[in-house]
Amino acid sequence: MIRSVACAALVLLVSPLVAAPPDFDKQIAPVLASRCLDCHSGSKPKGKLDLSHKAGASAAIVAGKPANSALWERVAAGEMPPKKPLSEAERKLLKEWIESGAKWGSDPIDPFRFTTSTRAGYDWWALQPIKRPPVPVSREPKASDPANPIDKFVVAKLSDKGLSLSPEADRRTLIRRVYFDLIGLPPTPNEVDAFVKDKAPDAYETVVDKLLASPHHGERWARHWLDVVRYGETDGFERNTPRQNSWHYRDWVIRAINADMPYDEFARLQLAGDVLKPNDPDAVKATGFLVAGVHNTVLGNDQMRAVARQDELEDIVGGVGQTFLGLTANCARCHDHKFDPISQTDFYRLASALGGVGFGERAIPEAKASVEIAKLAKELEAVAKELAALEEPARKAVLAEKGMGKVAADTPSPVAAWDFRKSGDDLIGKLHTRAVGGAKFTADGATLDGKTGLFRTPAMSFDLNTKTLEAWVKLDTLTQRGGGVISVQTPDGATFDAIVFGENEPARWMAGSNGFVRYKSFGGTEEKDAAKEHTHFAITYSADGTITGYRNGEPYGKGYASKGLVAFKAEKAVVVFGCRHEPAGGNKMLAGTVSIARLYDKALSLEEVRASFKSSGGFVTDVELTAKLTAEQRTTRTAIRKQHDAIARQLGTLTQRTTSTKAYANVPLPPGVTRFLARGDLATPGAVIAPAGLAAVTGPKADFELKPDAPDVDRRRELAKWIAAPNNPLFSRVIVNRVWHYHFGVGIVETPNDLGFNGGRPSHPELLDWLASEFASCKYSLKALHKLIVTSATYRQASAPRKEASAIDADNRLLWRYKPHRLEGEAVRDAMLSVSGLLNVEVGGKGFSDYKIRDFNGTAYFDPFDPIGPEFHRRSVYRFTPRGANQGLLDTLDCPDPAAAAPRRATTTTPLQALSLWNNGFALRAADAFAVRVAKDAEGAGNQVRRAWQLAYQRDPTADEAKLTTKLVTDHGLKALCRVLFNSNEFVTVE
């Protein structure tokens, strides 16, 4: 058993120490810490007895007199600890210590100081510095001894038990093994043949080099990494919204692995790529790691939001800690870690370091274009100023005539405006509205019944790209969910941008759009007044796709980058009021009254929105303005406007192009103040916590020397530096163990995400440290590590069981053979595609989906189906991977739901799996394609059987096999045989 590996402290504990009184720090404190302090410490110690420090403990201890010490009385009576009494040795120690004067040591007790029988301390093996161990020397060296240092370590352990390595596997088995392992696909018959015949001493090394250089290597090993980081392509929770652009991260992982990016760089970019290389598109994509997990978008009231954010941070801290450090720091959110030396404060330090992580899409930077954009924006600003200077006197004059002299000078000019208190007419142009259904004009404005009522304009006579929607509205209820105030839509309502109330989040304003494609929460406050008074709301749509909301002239929550602007074409767009988009009905209808509304052909600035809000109607129409200008001024104005529009168009095109590529990645938030939360509860906030690492990790300094209010960039830069520090012992140990795990099916530590107390103990601790040290000295090259491992004799062993070895080491922990294993679900699917000739080997890019995505009122449902066509016959790593969906075939083959990290996969064998491989539509279709391919390649049942064997098994059939299956082919055709082969043990097993 893993747990039976004795810890140093325990050994000390039971060693007889003649005459000397027990040492408090080494012998007594660990007992108190592991057996008493869970209850008897903290702010409310049980029985008001705090044993964590001398003053508190003195209440229960009378030095020299155990019989008078309450502590000893209760222990001796077997009452304490209540669940599991102390061992005889522990009791003896405690008594001796009190008898000898109860001398106290470090005060207060540091419960993390030493590893005990129940938890890990600072002296825990995985936290200690890596010292490169010497490679063992064979006791009886032979010329045939393998030269690879890995083998020396493995053989040394085997010899201790009188065991030895198995002989090398035959060439066909070996090439099949290493192909599946390094690229996840089977070798072709020709590749097998060439390798079997290659007599060069380095024939195997040549194959390994070729595979490591293959673009498919990145696809294979990226899938492993995506398991670890719980990469999923939907949000999870109620809406489970698909993340259409998260694949950029998946592709980045594939490329980074193919390029053999040093692992320290690989880690740093995922933690802080956007900070370290803000103008490097790849570095920004890498931060998809931080937001690979679930994200709740339905949050209710402010308190629920705050709790959800704490939950989210716990998940992020968990992901970062387990992935790179093999520590479950997330367990310390509500209390000190029960098993590892991670305090609750440590958790909040990490949470503080990651406090700026935000979920969303961001534009991928393009350095050249951003310079150009900045230049054009500057030009545009200058022209706009020129225009304003020309128009200002005329505007002021008009306003003065209208008796609105107080209207701010920068009140913007709309392209259409309505004052429904007077009529439905457009005060600027020709977009006069007409009432439909239960809509009517009242003295208060355009009154909408929330059922059938809406107002519609005729088609617009102008193009509308950048724009601002603005309205003053009073709502009938604040509980309504989804009514549109003002909406610009195509006449059929299929494309629209609208001011919408309460649809996605109760009582909050949002920018509605077709299929939510341009929707994100503004994160604005709950609306409380709009049912009492007319409330102003405006949404601006900028050229770069940014959408910003304003309420009563002030920013509403935060603007966000959308997928880009919609271009509404002249004659192909109308404005509707009171309906999110047509056709009318359901929750799209607004119950309320719109008094004033305006439409602009540009995204107003904050100042302009403010001015417009203040003026509430004091705008100047184009006709009025023109009338006040001289003929010469009019000509100049036309010229400037032309110039203005030209620049704006250019800018729009450029920004649209550069921002149309979005990646789901970290979108930093202001990190805010991180506080220690007693029991993890927001209701009991404690001290402010500065970002920092974990004190228990030896090597890099955990103190980042940052203030609690440090900006996000500093926090994550320092965190990345600390995690990937060359002297962080966990950093290399965790990854070399992970890599080993995937090559052999079991890690040197069998729990790759947990090198703490609850995890496994290393089967070969020296080998683990040697590998970690070698890995660091090879500049963190993963490919070098792979090559080192797969060229070892340990890896190249045959897989056949050996009785005498099984009897000693049934689990093969000492590696006396290569343990056969079933292929993962993705590899089974990919192998079927490859063998049947259907595989589309296209590398990278947006993936494919074998789910039909059904949107039901903003919630996504995923119905599996079997799509046909080369774009769907790509490797499984390119499959769309929603959370909480079930694809059938792959799920029964243990593909994990990306809702949680899967550092190692289960391998189950179930009837449902058998049914699925035997009957699933895709599996049968692939078998049919396999049959077609074989029929094309060979003639006659005998030859066809041989060809099928070569493709599926990379060998020729035996005489018995040929006889058996030739009959099946003769009776029922090749497709029956191909189905059988895909279901056979040999096909799905790597030996």
Partner: protein, 461 residues
Amino acid sequence: MLPTRRDVLRSTLPLGAMAALHQFAGAKPDHAPKAKRAIQISLVGGMSHIDSFDHRPELTKRHGKPLGNDTKPDVFFGQVGLLRKPDWEFKQRGKSGLWVSELFPRIATVADELTVINSMTADSANHTPALFVQNSGFQFNGYPALGSWLSYGLGSEADDLPAFVVLPDGRGEANGAASNWSNGFLPAQHQGVVFRGGDSPVRDLFPEKAIPAGEEKDSRATLEKLNQMHLERSGSEGALAARMQSYALAAKMQLAVPAVADLSKEPAKLKTQYGFDDPKTADCGKRCLLARRLLEKGVRFVQVYSGGPIAGSPRMSWDAHENVKENHGAEAARIDQPIAALLQDLKQKDMLKDTLVIFTTEFGRTPFAQSAGNVVGTGRDHNKYGFSCWLAGAGCKPGVAFGATDEIGWKVAEHPVAWYDFHATVLHLLGIDHEKLTYYHNGIKRRLTNVHGEVVKGVLS
């Protein structure tokens, strides 16, 4: 003994698994179980306790009055209207005198079988996280459901049916879909298996296009022989033999699943009792009868949903924000008769003595209306502070109500029961100590009840 840590670690090793639906079938429970199997009726959207099982006469008295001096409640939509009396009359039922409202007139006829818990509390008042907690004890995606834990802990009594079967509402799956019956980090065979209508009640039970019987038979025989030859060559690897066995079990399932799903041979009278003849009750009635048949055949846990997706209008769940009377009236009319029939049927078949029936909802509803502060609106908002669920059958104290909310049904006043207590109680009734049913995942020995949970002794017989 429950699966040990060693078994669990081994179960995740390559080819280490047994070929069975139920890795731990036949494992002995911790203590003598009262229940051998369980069925859960899961009401999605939040059923109003004060309109159904929690009789609060004071609420009726204070109808139209404000909630009072309490700090403003943090309800989902933030609207706190005036107190609203129940829309249905409460009556004492049966010999026990248990209070059940006219919302459930048929269930009321079996009130003497029910153990109502009126003091439930939830961690979240947000549908999906709350439903996740009800199912798995955690608000996040990715944790094993109660049914998966039972499958892991007890297995199934049948080797040709899954241990955990899910029967979603005919109108659609609840939000979160398969996340609600996920095996999480437990091995895949513990996932809830959805039974649907039609000839292939379980996905991939048969090929979409039928394969001629002769071809099917010969193909199977060839597969078996090829695997046998391979097995001999590769040194009789246990896992390879297990894989062969899984194909034999699959063939058994192909017979067992359509047989259990075929309701046609059930007596016409019974089908009428279950509500087959009325379009309102037919969906739930069919699923309840199927559930009984599954339990009879040895399935460990069946989950029957009442309510589909949350959003949309008209509503398809119990989420009565707009109008409790309309919404709950319509939803109850779909399930009242079938559930009453299920209880009677189980009793009649003498199965109720060792079958646990669980009737749950993710949270309750507020005693005040969801409307402006000076109005008695017609709807009610979410309430996580107090609500009702009930148990019936094996090991439960029948005809009693346990715990209480305050006098208007707003917050729990006596014996609060959190979901982890509820889960601990359900496991206890099935013979499992909730602290011992663990599975190692990423540094933690995970439990259904996390680090909490106490068996609610007051509901045990």
